[in-house]
Amino acid sequence: MKKYIIAVLAIAFSTATIESRPSENKGLLWSSLHGLDYAFKAGINIGGTSPLPLPEEIRNIESYSPGVAITLEGNVTKWLDIQKKWGVSIGIRLDNKHMTTKASVKNYGMEIFNDTGGKVEGLWTGGVKTKAKMSLLTIPILDNYLINNRWKVVAGPYFSYMIDGDFSGHVYNGHLRSPDATGSRVNFEGDNIATYDFSDNLRNFQWGMQLGGEWNAYRHLTVHADLTWGLNDIFEKDFKTISFAMYPIYLNIGFGYDF
């Protein structure tokens, strides 16, 4: 984790040094005259994919680890007024949203699949380890407002296409009531675990709202924090095993370079 932060810092600073040479690019100048600004941002996503509010089935979050989720973004801002206070930006971002959690649940809908496609369904009471990893191509379309020379706030929707997704894990230390609340009880203890994988039920299109701020730290170097809040369920509509919707909520922190 630390290693990656240092790497991000290094990239940010090296680009900043390159910039400090007094070489003016004609294209950039033209862009600037037409009210267009370009920026490159790198950061990490920290957050979780979670139901909101937490449903009563989830009793306790025992552990949480965000994993390393790097984001890279290029964007262009069109300033709408001469003072360059208001603008609209569009970007393209390679987004990674990762997390691993261990939670204890009660009567949590669960399907356990085998390799032949057969499954056992039921209600799980006990421990659940969940690994959610999504790689997305995201297009944020944001309103920009420059408060002063150093501060900028942004807000707007984003649209994501999931390139790759993994939502899997295992259940441990508890019991399965199968096939429903009046079915047979099967105990799991110790090394007995059962794996599940809902990766194929993830939705490819996601959208949500993004809200954030950017601080101009030094010349072209910026620091940003953006909250992305998913507004549609990460699972397909006809997926009923998990009885509640889950939304990705991530905070993106990183550095940027304004050309």
Partner: protein
């Protein structure tokens, strides 16, 4: 400074919206077990919501003690209360009825889930002739019964089928390891060692031998401690002499075995030396019990100190034709006739398509067919 405020605000939002809610009341409603001082054996079927409880002939049915094991917070009571009901004692003295059955309603802690179980009391003795003609095939898999109302004999055979169900490998009743098939006379039983798929592999149970036995299969322990889930035996009041019947056997090919890793985990592999050399198993055991809930299980059914006598087939030969087996009971200890009369002895009969199946060793495809089994006893002049 400003950024810090924004961050704090965001974090506050997140934490406020993700608080753990108050715990909801449990919605589970089922019977997970029943015992009582006079209960010799109970079988629970949560699919058709029935419980069969076997008690001895001397049991007072007007106040039968049944302690139900229920999900957390759930409650149970008879659908129609009768005089003499005083939980955990229930009145099963039902004059004028052939079948001693009453309905009980289980209600979940939340009150939102209910299930009505029919509880049937059996006061019969263990039959000594088994033809495997009768099955209940209303469920997902075959369940074998032996029934002789004339002699007041009744038995429900147990098998590992409920455990195999958890693998999700079976689509039809015929996909289960224990099924009814053509027998020596009429129908018989076919036991086949099956692959348990990826689910079985994750729980270190890569194969499931077909088995059929006198006793009960406790699904709750099937994954936690499988050999403990097979409880063998039923009270027996006679002096057994021989175990006879007909069988056919065919070994499967690749033999699944395991070695233990240093941390005590099972590492499964295909043992080339055992290819096509799997064996089935057929045996009967008479043993002494201290109380009614005392059973032999998959660990000690052939080794327990309590064993009085064993009749076990020396080996199952590969054969396409039905082959007779007739094995004498070999006595390790004598029978105490007083104890025999008072129901201190239990008899178990066990069939398995892989001799080491309880330890998850065997060949997928090994098949044992069984039919027309008899326990010969001194009392029957056999």
């Amino acid at each position: 400074m400003n950024l810090k405020n924004v961050l704090t605000g965001i974090m506050l939002c997140l934490t406020a919206s993700s608080c753990i809610q108050d715990e909801a009341l449990n919605i589970e409603a089922a019977i997970d077990g029943c015992d009582g001082s006079n209960i010799q054996l109970s079988t629970i079927n949560t699919d058709n919501k029935s419980v069969t409880i076997y008690v001895s002939k001397s049991t007072d049915l007007s106040a039968l003690e049944i302690n139900f094991l229920l999900p957390e917070g759930a409650s149970i009571r008879p659908v129609k209360t009768m005089s003499g009901d005083n939980a955990p004692q229930y009145n099963f003295n039902l004059p004028g009825t052939d079948i001693l059955a009453r309905d009980f309603r289980v209600t979940s802690e939340s009150g939102t889930t209910e299930a009505v179980y029919t509880i049937t009391i059996m006061q019969s003795e263990l039959p000594t002739e088994y033809s495997f003609e009768k099955i209940d095939n209303s469920g997902l898999y075959h369940e074998f019964f032996e029934l002789d109302l004339r002699k007041a004999e009744m038995l429900q055979w147990a098998s590992g089928n409920p455990g195999f169900r958890l693998t999700g490998m079976a689509k039809l009743p015929s996909d289960y390891p224990t099924v009814q098939s053509e027998g020596y006379h009429g129908k018989g039983v076919k036991l086949e060692t099956k692959n348990t798929g990826s689910f079985g592999a994750t729980v270190s149970m890569p194969i499931a031998a077909g088995n059929l036995f006198i006793g009960s299969f406790e699904i709750g322990n099937a994954l936690k401690d499988a050999p403990k889930a097979t409880k063998f035996g039923f009270p027996f009041y006679k002096h057994p002499t021989r175990l006879s019947g007909y069988y056919k056997f065919k070994s499967g090919e690749d033999f699944t075995s395991y070695t233990l890793t240093p941390d005590g985990k099972k590492k499964f592999f295909i043992d080339p030396e055992m290819k096509g050399k799997d064996k089935g198993d057929i045996y009967a055991v008479l043993y002494n019990t201290d109380n009614t809930d005392d059973f032999l299980d998959g660990y000690n059914s052939l080794t327990s100190e309590k064993i009085i006598s064993i009749a076990r087939i020396p080996t199952t030969e590969e054969t396409d034709e039905w082959k007779l087996f007739d094995i004498p009971f070999e006595y390790k200890k004598g029978i105490n006739d007083d104890d025999l009369k008072t129901g201190k002895y239990k008899l178990a009969i066990v069939f398995s398509s892989s001799i080491e199946g309880a330890d998850f060793k065997g060949s997928v495809g090994s098949t044992l067919w069984i039919d027309e089994v008899t326990i010969h006893c001194e009392e029957d002049n056999k």
